[in-house]
Amino acid sequence: MSVSRAATLTVAWRLASFRRENVPWFPIIILLTLTVLALFADFIAPHDPQVGLLGERFRPPAWQQGGSTAHLLGTDHVGRDVLSRLIFGARVSMVVGFTAVIFAGVIGTVLGIMAGYLGGWVDQVIMRITDAWLAVPALTYAIFLAAIVGPSEGNIVIILGLVYWTRYARVVRGEVLSLKERDYVRLAIVAGCSKWTIMRRHILPNVVNSAIVLATLMLGVVIVTEAALSFLGVGVPPPKPAWGLMLADGKKGLMAGYWWLTVLPGVCIMLMVLSANLLGDWLRVKLDPQLRQL
């Protein structure tokens, strides 16, 4: 059985064993809706998110005085449709969020397993780097890296991956330290398995659950960081419709009281982060028997 298959089976088995109790429908529905919006943004969005008509600028939402059904949620400072930008923004957040979380997860898990299983100087080197990186606040570090490499969607994913892998490395290493004392690992050593085989086939499948839980929890953190970077102008470059960028643009109409430009993108960020956190908390209890006892 291949490693990834074994890993999927562990997860699938746990998921299948769920009863119907306490399934967190709220976050699941929100995340599914956002996924659908992200996937089919081209068909759902009523307008082009990047092109606006200056004559239509700062239109309020349809239900307010001066609003029209052509722009249900109003328009921004260059007359772009807010609803369409929010829908396309879901795509940006989803793509950046998921790829960054996976990227960070892969680096962190691999290094965590190596540090935990190999021990010795490998452990020392990896963990000292982890400690040093954790010393700088993630956002500051991300800003620094973004300032060096310049803003682009791809760079953001790499930056967020480089900033956040440390969290995985810590958790995974801790788990590996206890796993490697287990009998089945000793048996594998006696049976003559190489270190790499043991790490790949016996350790990895057992830390995948924790990594997935952590990834779900990190999704929220990563999305907030992406929004903050975009807000500061070192994230997703304009005129792409990212929620953080929309908040930065919204500042231009803030003092005039154009609330929809500030409130709506923030609500989207909040809903997505909230869902990721709720889902992560639930998964943690479900997938991680050690934490369940807490």
Partner: protein
Amino acid sequence: MKRFFIRRVGYALLSLVVLSATIFVFVRLTGDPAVLLVEPGASKADIDAIRTDLGLDRPLPVQYLLFVKGLLHADFGRSFYYRTPVLELYLERLPNSFFLALVAMAFSLIIGIPSGILAAVRVNGWWDGAGKVFALLGLSMPSFWVGLLLILFFSVYLGWLPSSGSGTPLHVLMPAFALGWYFAAAHMRLTRSSMLEVLGSEYIKLARLKGLPEALVICKHAFKNALIPVLTLAGINLVLMVNVAVVVETVFAWPGVGRLLYEGIAFRDFPVVQTTVILSGVMIVAVNLAVDLMYAVIDPRIRYER
């Protein structure tokens, strides 16, 4: 004790070395540092001058030692934009950042501690549930968005508070609340769990058996001990607040070190960006070290570990 101190200080120094090395490597990996370190639009001759000046033609280890030597001499370079040493700029802004962080800390403790105690005393009750919702919202609403909402409500609609800048005590209220918001949730959670632990202990049982009124047990006996971990976290968080306020300071145009970092990005003022990041690392490593050493002095169990 002495060995613990030496080892702990050693780790902290090692962290700083690794940190400086990482920054050094990243700057060189991603392109020519000379281009980052000269002003945008500088001529080829200027870039070459910087290159020899920084010793960029020498082998990497030598370059790294020169870089560290500069840091040890508190030589962080000059800002392109302000034309003054970066360190001066930084120290000028630091008091503002600490002031903001102090007020933010006050907000977060005023919100976090009472709600945490209520949640612990009424565990699994209505208050506990409300506390959980609050903690989740604290994690899920980005602080800069909270800041923008505050401006919308208090400056634009009500006209009570100034929307940005500094100077009067009124200016600090909104940025401090936006910054403290996230931390309030963390302080609430820790107060709750620490309070629950203390409430389950023997001496609280004794106090109750003595027949003390519940209010006295909670306020006098339990509260004091439960507060210790919360105040430790608050101490660490205060330093963290100084260093994570970038976005909030930008929203409110608050003249702190976070705003300096933002200006560094906006004006492509690389020495400013680099210095702010390094100093924020130094500050956090230092406070973590201080807390660890303090705990070792107070609690012998820690220093004999491992």
